[in-house]
């Protein structure tokens, strides 16, 4: 039973779908086919095309775009983007987990209210929020003002336009996307298990490591996916809070379709980027299911 089930779903009693099962999934599959696979196919075709002097795509086969995409400089940029995304994700887990857990342990009314309050700040305009961060972190900003008033620093500290500012911006943008899925998992966790572990003499750390973390792992995994993956392609925050000094993979691709007017090269980068993600994701899934 286990060996059959482990390849597709972690529901031990999952059945093979009959016609109805496929029919019900059909809307989603059609959606994926129309709005994900079809655009990807266009991208794929473009990636083997040339472009003319005016930046239009010309349907002439070439490998050139891929040859250029594997230039070490682009791999370097991709590596940096992944690095920033990974640091962001780790900080989001560390900061978000206790908050998600705490919210899940509140009475139902409070719980819903707090979940909403996690997300509501993001119903403001992205630019305005980022400008607010700039106001806080700039040389003569709030942060430096407070530090100076507290007598902690003599001269203004350079926060803005540094990698640290970029990380603050990224963590801020993605934290709710970590808190909410973990909350979804933590909310269903039976607190009696935690109490039982304490009753049996386990210390807080051990309870955390052996009860809480394993039982909320699906939420952490989902939060990681929702934070890490979009953060790799993110560049608006990097540009605004980091001074656009270091290119990210998102910038490079974006520029090919915009200013550089080289859609085929952008498409090649996009195809490689997407394929790398699909492979990495499938491998991770396989490892996860074989662990179970």
């Amino acid at each position: 039973m286990q060996t059959i089930a482990k390849f597709e779903t972690n529901n031990p009693r999952a059945r093979a779908p009959r016609l109805a099962g496929w029919l019900l999934l059909a809307p989603m599959l059609t959606w994926l086919l129309l709005f994900v696979i079809a655009p990807m196919a266009i991208l794929f075709v473009y990636s083997f095309c040339r472009r003319d002097d005016l930046g239009r795509v010309v349907h002439e086969f070439t490998w050139e775009n891929y040859a250029r995409a594997f230039d070490p400089i682009y791999l370097n940029i991709l590596g940096r983007s992944i690095g920033y995304a990974a640091i962001t994700t780790l900080i989001c887990i560390a900061a978000g987990f206790p908050a998600a857990w705490f919210i899940a342990r509140q009475p139902p009314v409070m719980r819903n209210r707090l979940v909403m309050l996690v997300m509501i700040p993001f119903w403001t305009s992205f630019l305005i929020r980022t400008y607010a961060w700039i106001t806080i972190l700039k040389e003569q900003g709030l942060m430096n003002g407070l530090l100076h008033a507290a007598g902690l620093t003599a001269a203004p500290v350079e926060f803005l336009y540094t990698p640290a500012a970029v990380i603050i911006g990224l963590v801020y943008a993605y934290l709710p996307f970590m808190i909410l899925p973990i909350y979804g998992s933590a909310e269903k966790l039976d607190f009696a298990l935690v109490e039982a572990a304490y009753d049996l003499g386990a210390g807080p750390l051990r309870v955390f490591r052996e009860i809480i973390i394993p039982l909320t792992r699906p939420g952490i995994a989902a939060g990681t996916l929702l934070t890490f993956v979009p953060a790799i392609g993110m560049f608006a925050i990097t540009d605004l809070m980091g001074g656009a000094k270091v290119p990210m993979i998102g910038n490079v691709i974006q520029k090919q379709f915009g200013g550089a007017r080289n859609a085929p090269f952008g498409a090649a980068l996009g195809v490689i980027f997407t394929l790398m993600f699909i492979i990495a994701y499938t491998l991770a899934q396989r490892r996860r299911s074989s662990e179970q």
Binding site: T9, N11, R13, A14, A16, P17, L24, L25, M28, L32, F35, A38, P39, M40, L54, I73, I77, P98, V109, R113, V115, M116, M119, P121, F122, W123, L127, I128, I134, E139, L142, L175, L180, P181, Y183, G184, K188, L193, Y198, P204, L215, P218, A221, G223, L225, P230, I232, G233, D239, K245, I253, Q254, G259, R261, F265, A267, F273, F277, I278, Y281
Partner: protein, 655 residues
């Protein structure tokens, strides 16, 4: 601790953890709300630039109340967000459940595909959806934006719900089925309530993403469906004014009040509901009672608190969907009763648009872009029949070559005579057949004279080691290359690999000294005092000078260039008469001067200039000594690629 008090220890451990987590959660909320507090405070700031605090005012709230386009954009955004969320919840929740319940072939591939929209760069998804919609001959508008939003929103719901399903007791559904529920009933009455916290989280994420999305929306929207982010982003050019803070504040306060208030109402209802148990009971058919749920799930979740009124919700959704379709399927429009303008955001003051509509009865659909290349990409893909487009010089050159424009009918443009001759017959349109110059600007140096005492005459004076980390420049490879070329005495349009190689060492040194690259709003860092020198668009410099005279504008001694924004009529235009009328309206001196007042660029309209006051004419960034300098020409693909590769390489090497 030889004899630990077993009865007390767990309690203290749990308490300790709870207290620690409580403090931590408070800190997390402080972090989340810190910028929000700043944002709200700045909505009362009297400075227009949203950067420095000047004094208290309520004027932005007053301005907001009178700004119908923004209110309309907000409504549109909320409408799109609500629909995208509903569809995302439906697709995401059922998808997650089905993938969990059945062993599909290719399940892992389906799963990976679901996640692709999360990783695909927005512009890639935007452009490919645009091409796809064009191929399908779908008119761009509300529907296409909703479809695009659902595509990138539903994976978030699906992933959140999947996390909740993981470890769900399979007996739950079986018990419901054994008790006589149909599979649909079991899903609706047992599974969905169990998943509710994840559905709520997923829906919140979907709504948030939809509300704030800019790039995909840009490519899939039509001329009549602006969303708030597209409007706000366009405002950066002129200086994002605190009206947007006011709007955000009003919206935030309303939602927070609603959250608190609705919970309060629900509590009132549930308190009274305890004495009358009928309303919740009607939602639970006799077959699938909540009992199996509460006995088999690890957490005994009382059904009542999660149960959602499915039927009213379904009716509401259906009504919303029908209304949305009704809103998009408009009757065929009469020719020349409206005009589709595709222009730089905020470049045409609302007063001008309103005045035109009032006088002629022609409705203006003002769609905005924030880069000429984006505009070109969207025009090339087709989809919308624009009437008026607003390219800059070298993009206009492409559009003329590509046959994307219609020759102008000068009989319909009597006010064209107001344009000064020095701005006519430029290389992008040598016979002045297709374009009318709108505004002209230069690129030059802004010096904060309070900080920089040495004279700054040109690029060489800016890029000094002593200014390291005090410089902002526009984030544009071609610009930087042209500055180096001017310094080296190379023609700025003669872009060859050899010339680029000559410029490389100079650019490498320069870029190492720069603190910020920003094309959208280089004035921000200058106003904030984070940098003292800038090489920026003339328009930015003019705004800075208007705000504070310490910001002096210097045209580089090595040489500079101008850029010309023009208006032209698209070859797909269906409302040519109305387009000519609009063009001629903007050429009237008393109208053109309104544009100049809002945007202190160089106005090519000689008669309008006469209406400006002396201070406006004295602005060195608006009216430099010479009317027109050299302009950028269209460069071939190879040259563009070389510049891009060089610029990326040099940036990547910055320490």
């Amino acid at each position: 601790m030889h004899a630990p008090d077993i009865s007390r220890r767990p309690v203290s451990g749990i308490k300790m953890m709870r207290r620690g987590f409580g403090v931590w959660t408070a800190l997390v909320f402080a972090f989340l709300y810190l910028p929000i507090i700043v944002l709200i405070a700045y909505s009362f700031n009297s400075s227009r630039l949203n950067i420095l605090w000047e004094g208290f005012t309520m004027k932005w709230y007053a301005a907001l109340a009178g700004n119908t386009p923004i209110i309309r954009a907000l409504k549109n955004t909320l409408y799109i967000g609500a629909l995208a969320t509903v569809f995302s919840i439906i697709i995401g929740t059922t998808g997650a459940w089905l993938l969990y319940r059945h062993k599909y072939r290719f399940a892992r591939a389906i799963q990976a595909l679901v996640c692709v929209p999360m990783i695909m760069p927005e512009i890639v998804m935007g452009i490919s959806l645009l091409i796809f919609f064009t191929v399908l001959k779908m008119e761009l508008g509300f529907t296409t934006v909703v479809i695009a939003h659902v595509t990138f929103c539903f994976p978030f719901v699906l992933v959140a719900v999947q996390a909740r399903l993981d470890g769900l007791d399979p007996a739950l559904e079986e018990a419901a089925l054994d008790l006589g529920a149909t599979p649909l009933q079991a899903f609706r009455l047992v599974i969905v309530p169990c998943l509710w916290p994840a559905i709520l989280s997923g829906g919140l994420m979907a709504f948030t993403l939809s509300m704030d999305e800019l790039i995909i929306t840009f490519f899939t929207r039509g001329p009549t469906s602006p969303t708030l982010p597209t409007v706000v982003f366009g405002m950066v050019k002129k200086g994002l004014d605190p009206m947007i803070n006011a709007l955000s504040t009003v919206f935030l306060v309303t939602t927070i009040a609603f959250v608190l208030f609705s919970e309060y109402l629900r509590r009132l209802a549930s308190e009274s509901g305890q004495s009358t148990p009928t309303p919740p009971a009607t939602l639970l058919p006799k077959t699938a009672s909540p009992t199996p749920a509460s006995t088999t799930t690890p957490t005994p979740t009382p059904m009542k608190k999660h149960s959602i009124p499915v039927r009213p919700a379904a009716i509401a959704i259906a009504a919303a969907a029908v209304a949305a379709l009704a809103a998009t399927s408009c009757a065929p429009r009469a020719t020349d009763k409206e005009v589709n303008v595709f222009a730089w955001s905020e470049y045409i003051p609302q007063a001008v648009i309103d005045g035109f509509t009032k006088e002629t009865g022609i409705k203006v659909n003002y769609e905005t872009f924030s880069s000429g290349e984006e505009m070109l990409a969207k025009v090339l893909a087709g989809g919308t029949a624009y009437d008026l487009v607003q390219p800059c010089d070298y993009i206009a050159e492409v559009m003329v070559k590509e046959d994307l424009l219609t020759p102008l009918d000068y009989d319909k443009l009597p006010n064209f005579k107001n344009i000064l001759p020095e701005f006519l017959n430029l290389p992008y349109d040598p016979d002045q057949k297709f374009t009318i110059p709108f505004m002209i600007s230069t690129v030059g140096i802004v010096v904060n004279t309070e900080k920089i005492k040495d004279p700054v005459r040109g690029y060489a004076d800016v890029f000094q080691d002593k200014h390291k980390g005090r410089i902002v420049v526009v984030d544009d490879g071609r610009e930087l290359v042209s500055w180096a070329f001017s310094t080296l005495g190379i023609d700025i349009n003669n872009i060859t690999p050899g010339n680029l190689a000559k410029a490389r060492p100079m650019l490498e040194r320069w870029m190492g000294l720069v603190k910020i690259f920003d094309s959208d709003s280089p004035k921000t860092a200058l106003t904030n005092g984070d940098v003292d020198l800038g090489i920026v668009w003339g328009g930015e410099a003019a705004i800075l000078w208007k705000e504070n005279k310490k910001f002096q504008y210097v045209l580089p001694a090595e040489g500079t260039h101008s850029f010309v924004d023009v208006f032209a009529i698209s070859n797909k235009s269906k409302n040519r008469d109305a387009a000519h009328k609009f063009l001629d309206y903007t050429l009237r001196p008393e109208i053109s001067v309104l544009i100049s007042r809002d945007f202190p660029y160089t106005n090519p309209n000689g008669s309008a200039r006469k209406l400006l006051d002396t201070e406006e004419l004295a602005n060195p960034a608006s009216y430099p000594p010479k009317g027109l300098y050299e302009i950028f020409r269209h460069i071939d693909g190879k040259a563009g690629e070389d510049i891009d590769a060089l610029y990326t390489d040099l940036k990547n090497a910055i320490k």
